[in-house]
Amino acid sequence: MSSRGLYTAASAMMMDMVRMDTVANNLANVNTTGYKRQQTLHHDFRTGFIERLKNVQPYLDSRSGQESIEYRQARNATLGELGTGTVVSGAFVGFEDGALEDTGNSLDLALQGTGFFAVETPNGVMYTRNGAFTRNEQGELVTAEGFRVLGDQGPIQLPEEKVNISEKGEIYAGDQYLDSLQRVDFVEPWSLIRRGSSFFAAPSNAPQLPPEGRVLQGKLERANVETAREMVQMITALRSYQMSQKALQTEDEMTGRLINDLGRPA
């Protein structure tokens, strides 16, 4: 079958679907505390060369013992490049800060700038930007699921009274220093794996940076999804999908003509 275009168009349609899936996930999480938007990246498949078909049999020149000049010329008769479609190469995570919402709740923490809070989960230490913390029945600082938030000295035991948390994450009860929140900053935050529930997992030995993000008490970081950008992405995905479908249909029609009309006796 010579209709390469069918597969090229189909690859574009599949890519647009993934793009749409990502947009939908961003929009679904537009109100999720600490959510970071995603955007798909795509690149073209390897381009191929089209060559002219010529009815020349490969034969060796009787004198030189090499391929004949005629055959070499025919073999090198390249018409040009032909792309063979597109593929999703990755999903980029936009780590820019989300808007801050003032909640006044002393255990609501937001990180301004880069970095993550470290949380002890049953699946190992995970990282999150969602600082909607609370305390558990033992007075420890925990996430909404009850996973313990880690300080420099492990889980953080809170006193009964309200605590003050400095921009560097130092926790004070009155004048008494208790512990510091772990702030973890990665050299390559895009290599983190999203685990859902606002958690990111880091590959082992992921290089870290000295933390720079400022901890803000009584605030929460909203999702950094911008509805307008997502709408544009959505329209682009839809229209590109539509165009690829038209290309596919045209290719189909041409093949149909080839089969049904070309061979018909006049």
Binding site: N26, A28, N29, A132, E137, A144, S191, G196
Partner: protein, 261 residues
């Protein structure tokens, strides 16, 4: 079928819940001692199409993976236990707590319930009861001939009968390590759970953090109408955006179906 359809549907469901919570906050804007709720969301699981760090060519690792999210879910509706505003009523049995404490009352089944609603009354025998007739614990009894009932900031109740002032008990407060973990029973009552921890008893005014009592005052709800309005607008617009995602996914599926004529 498309993931986006279900993803966007989860978004719409989440925003609907958000609006439910907001409406309940607004409905209770004038409820004594009401503490407002908020909805907490989290992203759902991710489908891994390509692992970050996977080999794309000889010794070249992909710097980022491809992970497709599956939407959003509500993780909880925690209450926000900030202080509500005070309303002056001049009713001697109206009490407001200026701090983190709760009143303890006895339910008809003998278990304890906790409330911030201090609009107490006396029953036929002079016992201090809530608006539902539940006894304040420990019991406080007001003499039927008492003329002047004073409740101090530490909860001490004194009454004057026939010109003689006497002390008739002290209202105790309780608090919880994690008040967010309390179970709401409705009618302004809470019940202790494993998440809240067991009650810690203390004296108003003196034990740290419990707060002082104010007689003749009621604590109004801590619902901030402007905040709720903003939440309503945000959830409405988010709902709209997600419905657009569903429409678009639907259109894409239609286009896919029309590819074959």
């Amino acid at each position: 079928m498309m993931r986006a359809l279900y993803t966007a549907a989860s978004g719409m469901k989440a925003q609907q819940l958000n609006l439910d919570v907001t409406s309940n906050n607004l409905a209770n804007v004038n409820t004594t001692g009401f503490k407002s709720f908020r909805t907490e969301f989290q992203d759902l699981h991710y489908q891994m199409l390509r692992q970050p760090g996977s080999q794309v060519a000889n010794n070249i690792l992909s710097p980022q993976g491809t992970q497709i999210g599956m939407g959003v879910t509500a993780i909880g509706t925690p209450r926000f236990f900030s202080q509500g505003d005070f309303q002056h009523t001049e009713n001697p049995y109206d009490l407001a707590i200026q701090g983190d404490g709760f009143f303890r009352v006895v339910m008809p089944n003998g278990t304890f319930a906790y409330t911030r609603d201090g609009s107490f009354k006396t029953d036929a025998n002079g016992a201090l009861v809530t608006h539902d007739g539940y006894y304040v614990d420990p019991n406080i009894t007001i003499d039927q001939n008492a003329t002047n009932v004073t409740i101090g900031s530490d909860g001490t109740v004194s009454q004057t009968v026939n010109g003689v002032t006497s002390n008739s008990g002290q209202i105790q407060l309780v608090r919880f390590v994690n008040p967010v973990g309390l179970e709401s029973l409705g009618k302004n009552y809470f019940r202790a759970t494993q998440a809240s921890g067991t009650e810690i008893t203390g004296t108003a005014g003196t034990s740290p953090g419990f707060g002082a009592l104010a007689q003749g005052m009621l604590e109004m709800s801590n619902v901030r109408v402007a905040d709720e309005m903003i939440r309503m607008i945000v959830s409405m617009r988010a709902y709209e955006a997600n419905s657009k995602a569903i429409q678009t996914s639907d259109e894409m599926l239609q286009i896919a179906n029309n590819a074959k004529r």
